[in-house]
Each structure stands twice: as C-alpha cells, then as structure tokens.
C-alpha cells in the first residue's frame, strides 16, 4: 500500500458517506411516520358497534375471592402474580387499613382487634386492568406490542413484546406484571378469548353477588349501558386522565 496524496478520494468517500447518511436519515422518519401507533389505528368499537366496559359494584362485593381464583385458573397465571385481586378497606378516624386477597384461595385473617370497633366504614374493592381509553401502557410500549383492540380491550401481543417492562412502570394502577414463565408483560385481558366466543370474563361468571358486570356500554338496554349512561360512577385515580373503562359504583373516597 502506498501513501498517496492523490489516491482514492477521501473526498469521494466522504461524499458517498454523507449521501448514504442523508438517505438513512430521511428513511428513518419516513419509516417512523409510516408505523402509526397501533393504539391510534384501532377503532375502539367492534365492527358491530360494541364498546365494552366493566362495572364493579363495591357495595355488592363480599370478599369471597372466587374471582381471583377463577382468573388464575382460566388464564394460567404464575403463582407470584395476579391479574385481579380484592382489597379490604377498613377506614378509621386515624387512618386506613388495607389488605388484599391476592392469591388464589387466600383467606384474609380477621381484622386486628379493636380496628373494627373504630371503623367508620369497611369495604371490599375488586381491582383489575382498567382498559384505559387513553392507556399509558399503550403509549409507552416501544415496539407496539401493547395495543387497544376493537371493543376497547387493551392487550399484549406476547409474541412481539420484548419484555422491557416500561408498560409496568407506566401503569398507574399496578395491574401489569412481568410473567416469569412467558418472560413478557402480562395483565388482565377481560378474558378476551372468552368474550370473542360470546362468553363473559371468568371473574364475572363466578361472582356470586354480581359485584362484577361486563357488557357493551353503548347498549342502553343492558345493565352496563344503563350504568354508563347514568353517569353516576367513579374511576380509580381520575387525576391520571387515562379514562378508565372500569366503572366503580359506590367507590369510597379513600380507595386508591
């Protein structure tokens, strides 16, 4: 190799390099613009106009925990995680005591002695994914593996998820978890696989008091539609502006 002062153009080389870089730089944004958000793409409604909502009537929940068990069996959830759980609130003038049925078959111990005597109120509050209309988890998923499906279901594509966990951090409700068996993000799907067959979510089916109701919020003749229309429901953490599709009836102010 000889040292040359006129040999192959470093200038030509750089010229080509700059052209290549410009091509790449322009290809990037085009590709990004082309890959629109899957959340934005999908209409919230199904082809037949259904838009689902999940109603939780706090006054009806008796804390039996069947829903937690049915969910774990139906969805084959690893032992250390849950897609739904039931919290027991005991509120006193001094503060709030909270425990949860967070394992299939778990029974809560009786409240600490004296606590019930001081209780202003007590309630069981079921928790599950809120399938938010403005879902933070959908927004932050870097690869679009979490998306909103027609009907309002927020789902995870387990074959596309990279398991980064950003959605778990972004969820204000703590409903997402890292599934140690599948090694991807996991959460309640409102039993999408059952609903697609015309069935109800497993937790709704087993609830003995109809504290959990599921249905089309646009069907004003159905129970969910009527409740939705009444506008007399609450959501968890409304300050997050995520527009939850889980509607609570009789939700105490202290519930987070």
């Amino acid at each position: 190799m000889t040292q040359s002062t006129t040999g192959k153009g470093r200038r030509t080389f750089l010229h080509e390099l700059v052209l290549g870089a410009m091509a790449l730089a322009s290809a990037g944004p085009v590709a990004l613009l082309a890959s629109r958000s899957r959340a934005e793409d999908s209409s919230a409604k199904t082809p037949n106009g259904k838009e689902y909502a999940f109603v939780v009537d706090v006054s009806k929940c008796i804390g039996c925990g069947y829903c937690v068990e049915a969910c774990a069996i139906e969805n084959n959830i690893p032992k250390e995680s849950v897609r739904t759980w039931v919290e027991r609130y005991i509120a006193t003038a001094e503060g709030v005591h909270v425990e949860a049925i967070d394992k299939p078959g778990k029974m809560l111990a009786p409240p600490p002695a004296g606590l019930m005597a001081k209780a202003r109120w007590a309630a069981f509050v079921p928790k599950l994914c809120n399938h938010c209309e403005n879902a933070p988890c959908v927004q932050v998923c870097p690869v679009g593996a979490t998306f909103t499906a027609p009907g309002g279901f927020v789902l995870v594509d387990p074959k596309h998820c990279i398991g980064c966990g950003y959605c778990i951090q972004a969820c204000p409700y703590g409903v997402r978890f890292f599934n140690k068996e599948t090694r991807v993000a996991d959460k309640c799907t409102w039993c999408y696989h059952r609903v697609a067959k015309g069935l109800e979510p497993a937790c709704v089916t087993v609830c003995p008091t109809q504290a959990r109701i599921f249905g089309d919020r646009n069907d004003l003749t159905g129970p969910v539609g009527k409740i939705y229309q009444s506008d007399n429901w609450q959501t968890l953490k409304p300050e997050m502006h995520s527009h939850s599709r889980v509607l609570y009836l009789g939700l105490p102010r202290e519930v987070v």
Partner: protein, 395 residues
C-alpha cells in the same frame, strides 16, 4: 412513616417485585459516562479550550469504549433479548423509549466517524509499515482512503470539529433523553418531573468528567509519566462549576416537591426519610455531594500545591462518580419502592449471580475499562505514548 393515612404498609400485589433492577441502574450510568467524556473532547475541538488538547483524543476513545457497552445492560434486562431489534423494526413512535435505538446507534456512528478521522493517518502509516495479517487489519481500518496531503489533513481537522459540533447536541440528546424516559412517567411520583432530563444530563456530564480525571491520573501514575497539571486544573474548574449546577437541580427537584406539599411529597417524603435515607439523604446528598463540592471549591479557589491538588482532585472525582451511581440507584430503584397503592413501600434485595445481580453488573461496568486498555495497546492516545502519531497535525 407511611403515606396517605395508611395504618399498615399496603402495596399492590404486582408491585412486590422491583422489575427495573441493577441493569437499569447501570444503563443510564454508562450512557452518562459516554456523554460526559464526549463533552470534554468537544470542549477542545469546538470550544477551543486549549488546555484540553491533552484530553481530546483520550476523551474520545474513552467515550467510544463506554458507548460500546451502554446498551449491554438493556440486553441483560430484557425478558426477550432476541427480540431487541423489534425496537428498530417496529418502533412505536408514541413511546419515549422507541427512538432510543436510533439515537444511540447514530451517536455511536458519529463517535466512530470522528475516531476514524483522528486516527486515519495512523492507520495508513501502520498499513505501510506492517506485513501479513496485521497489514490487512490496518488496511481495513483505513477504509481504502489513502490521502494524507496537508490539504487532506486540514479537511480532516475541519470535519473532526464539525462532527464534534454535531456530537454535542447529540450527546446531550442521548442523555437528556434517558432522563425523559423516567421523567415522563406520570404514574411514578419520584420520577415525574420535567427536571429529570436536566438532572440526568448534568449528572452525565459530571460523571464523565470525573471518570476521565480518575482514568487519566491512574494511567499517568501507572506509566510514571508527568501529569499535565494545567489541563487537570482546568478540568476541575469545569467539574466544580458543572457539579454545582447538577446538585442545584437535584436539590431543586426535592425542595420544590417539599414546598408544594402535594401528592408527590405525600409519597416521596416518607421514601426519602425512610428506605432511601442511607443512599439518598446521607449518601448521595450529604456525603458524596457535600464533600466534593467543598474539596473542588478548595482546589479551584486556592493556590494548592501540585501533589496535594492531584490527591484532593482525584478524591473529589471519586466521590462524584459514586454520587452519580447512587443517584441512578435512588431514581431507578427508589421510584419503584413506592407502590402504586400510594400506601406502602417495597424493599429492594440485591442479588449476586442472577442476571441482574451484582457480579454481572460489575463485569459490565469493568468491560469499558478493559476495552480501553486493549485499544490503548494499539492506538496512541497521549502525545508521549510509545506508539505516537508522526504527524504534527492538531488532533
């Protein structure tokens, strides 16, 4: 102390496990060292800080070595590392994280281009003076470009300045962006502040400068060569000033939350005086911010004898690299200690050999230094290195 009138420590069942662990502590730490080291190189090439000629090439090589390993912790962390390239192929543009792959890789291309221009002439010389396999490797490194006329070298120099100039906003973006990934999570009261990108950026720059100081001093001490004390003193001027800004931003975040006395403080206050008392209040702020601020103030403001200067400045630099590591820990792990229940906190447990354990973390953190050592066997980094550039080109 528990927040929101909680009578018992109640955390949501899925919050028990801290998902973003040591690897996510390490990722912004190494990325910060990349950005910080680059800034020192750019201070010479772009802002003409003459004293930093000593550090210009060294800082660039160091930035490259850190950069090679900045994304490795992420790969260790991912549940599905083989799908990592999905972030390039199907970027979901509403996500703050989705463009990281592009920002990071384009930055690395920029650093490599600048390195190539700096060492281009050396590659040609080596290709001409070696034989066999060695010659082939050096030839490949020249990328087939053989011009070394004075005019060509002038061009090189211009391009180096240009790339360094582009590199500054790029390095700032790379690390400010890491802060944005945390700062934009509204669900986490300890993360969600627009100050977060600034805090990450400032801490990145100071950690990079401090790490360069430590590396430079160690290398010169080991090789028995003289220190460039004028350059070191100037570097400490910058470090002190920038660290004051860094600590000011970090303090401002907490003071603001405290004074605001809103939801953020309701859950963050008990965290900082509880589980993070040791690593945040005492570690990050009192000791590892207070001590280097005072020591650097002393060596910058007073006429400190050389030997004492080297010792004190290096001790302060060591404090700063620890401070920044603690800051990464307190942000990443601390934020996840707050359960989304707002009525409880969870513990973090260190592991040793697990995928996100201490041993893999130490190995990843050591990798850039080992890489630097290997690179320094083959490339002249300081002017008085045995392998030196024969040209008198300003590089």
């Amino acid at each position: 102390m528990l927040p929101q009138g909680a009578l018992n420590n109640y955390y949501f069942p899925n919050n028990l496990h801290i998902d973003w662990s040591l690897m996510i502590v390490l990722y912004p730490y190494i990325t910060g060292l990349v950005a910080g080291a680059f800034v020192v190189s750019a201070l010479y090439h772009v802002f003409k800080v003459k004293e930093f000629e000593t550090f210009a090439r060294f800082a660039l090589v160091a930035s490259f070595c850190f950069g090679l390993f900045a994304a490795v912790p992420l790969l260790f962390h991912l549940g599905q590392p083989f799908r990592a390239f999905n972030i390039f192929f199907t970027p979901h543009t509403t996500s703050a994280m989705s463009i990281f792959g592009y920002v990071y890789s384009s930055y690395m291309v920029l650093v490599m281009l600048e390195l190539w221009l700096v060492y281009r002439k050396y590659f040609i010389e080596k290709a001409n003076s070696t034989r066999g396999l060695q010659q082939l490797i050096w030839k490949v490194l020249t990328l087939g470009v053989t011009q070394t006329s004075p005019g060509a070298l002038r061009w090189d120099h211009g391009l180096i300045s240009l790339f360094a100039g582009i590199g500054i906003p790029w390095a700032f973006m790379l690390h400010g962006y890491v802060g944005f990934i945390f700062g934009s999570v509204k669900a986490n009261a300890w993360w969600a502040t627009p100050l977060q990108p600034l805090i990450f950026l400032m801490s990145a720059i100071v950690s990079g400068i401090a790490m360069l100081m430590l590396m430079y001093s160690f290398i010169r001490w080991r090789s028995g060569k003289p220190y460039d004390l004028a350059a070191m003193r100037r570097l400490m001027d910058y470090l002190w000033g920038l660290f004051i800004l860094d600590v000011a931003f970090e303090s401002l975040e907490v003071v603001y939350m405290f004074y605001e006395h809103g939801h953020h403080w309701a859950v963050v206050g008990p965290l900082l005086t509880g589980k993070l008392l040791g690593t945040y209040a005492i570690g990050q702020m009192a000791i590892f911010s207070g001590v280097p601020l005072l020591l650097l103030g002393y060596v910058v403001l007073f006429d400190v004898p050389d030997r004492r200067f080297v010792k004190i400045a290096n001790f302060a630099a060591l404090c700063i690299v620890i401070q920044v590591l603690l800051m990464r820990f307190n942000v990443v792990i601390g934020g996840q200690m707050i359960s989304k229940s707002d009525r409880g906190y969870v513990d973090f447990h260190f592991e040793w050999l697990a995928r996100e354990g201490i041993i893999p973390a130490v190995m990843i953190l050591a990798a850039p230094f080992i890489t630097y050592w290997i690179v320094s066997r083959f490339l002249p980094i300081f002017k008085d290195d045995a392998l030196s550039l024969s040209s008198s080109g300003r590089q």
